[in-house]
Subunit: 221 residues, 2 copies
DNA sequence: TTTTGTGTGTGACCTGGGTTACAGACGAAG
DNA sequence: CTTCGTCTGTAACCCAGGTCACACACAAAA
């Protein structure tokens, strides 16, 4: 698949107004990064060189515990951009989380100097970046609330609803998104199945009663 | 106490480079806001009119549950500025949290139009704002980790260490910072006291063994 | 002094969810 | 087919922390 600048513009319309020099630099074939699944995009306390523009694939940003548990903080999908990186570009040093390629990635990296320039001169780009920040903060605050106050069954229900069917993922993977462990997810899913909310298969979950799941997910306590 | 522009500049050196017009507007006595304790600075889903510059006092940003529990997301102190607001200034609509004056507040509000202009034209101001965002995000990610993976005794120990002695606050208040309930905090504090880590009094806590508390707070599990 | 309110101590109890330690089930590879 | 690795089920157990229901204790107000 060819990755012309067209793809870039389709995902990041903001970049249409780039000055030609930046554009040329950005579209040089060497600036195209292909990364395999599992690549660590960034680690806790490690610097970064530019502003990543994700063309395809998805990055998960997670916290890990020494005991081997994991918790998904958020995802970066194509069209989004990892704001963590810009955070770092802008003086804040350590990441305090890891970013990992969930799928093979295709991305271009906007060098730091260009990023600075764009943010300064291009109001729509600036708006775009601010928006990324704002969104991230809102999502993180939501996450704090959920982790602090919502039961795991609620959070699991919500997670299932957020995925598009057919859901193909292991209980382990779901547990890691929730910051829990496999056994509990299995137990809860079994409960859901018993209530006729889902049908379970190896590495696949079918949602039988979205309405009831939604109700479960939405209970305020 | 007079609140000249000097105070403003002392807290926000960034503003020194303001164009005179903005400066004049900002220093008009009418732009000085005095708010009593308990004022709701912003609520979930409510718009905002400018970028607040806190001169004195502290704002707590919290999540509440229907069951009456509360959880502190973060604080804004003088010199900081509530990035939530800017978030909103920049297009993201709903707050998903409440901001409440913990003490009487003294603040000036930079009107939205000036804010836009400053962010565009003044690189140090822009850097300042980005830095606020970045810091906030890092803190929130840290908070997620703590809530998800750390036990309450750890988090309480950390909280106590972060306060400056003498600590004068009720168990209820501590519980609300942690997103827990009074009884549990009392129980844990009693435990700390039994180990000689703290001495308890009505609305006051004395730290007897900071080293041990620190150790407790730092355990990685 | 008595009253009243606000903070604290405390025990009994419950429950969500994490831990351990398995056993079976399925699919792919040999 | 057999083997092996990955995924799932599941039971026994434990513990942190939340809930309920109190009883005090202390201070300020009446």
């Amino acid at each position: 698949m060819e990755n012309s600048s067209d793809d870039l513009f389709a995902l990041y319309p903001v970049l249409r107004s780039l000055p030609p020099a930046v554009l040329e630099e950005l579209c040089r074939p060497t600036s195209l990064l292909k990364l395999p699944v599992g690549t660590e995009i960034f680690t806790e306390r490690q610097a970064c060189q530019g502003f990543p523009l994700l063309l395809s694939g998805s990055i998960k940003v997670v916290k890990n515990t020494p005991s081997g548990r994991e918790m998904l903080l958020y995802r970066v999908e194509s069209g989004g951009s990892c704001i963590m990186t810009s955070s770092c570009l802008l003086g804040h040093s350590d990441y305090s989380a890891r970013g990992i390629a969930e799928t093979p990635l295709l991305m271009r990296v906007l060098p730091a100097t260009f990023f600075e320039k764009l943010v300064a001169e291009n109001s729509s780009f600036r708006r775009f970046v601010f928006h990324l920040f704002a969104e991230r903060i809102a999502e993180l605050m939501q996450l704090v609330e959920e982790v602090a106050f919502h039961r795991l069954d609620q959070r699991l229900a919500k997670l299932l609803l957020a995925k598009n069917e057919p859901i193909r993922s292991t209980h382990q993977a779901l547990a890691e998104e929730l910051g829990s462990v496999r056994e509990i997810v299995s137990r809860l899913l079994k409960g859901f199945a018993a209530q006729g909310l889902v049908a379970l298969g190896r590495e696949q979950i079918e949602l039988l009663d979205r309405k009831a799941l939604k109700q479960l997910a939405d209970v305020r306590r």
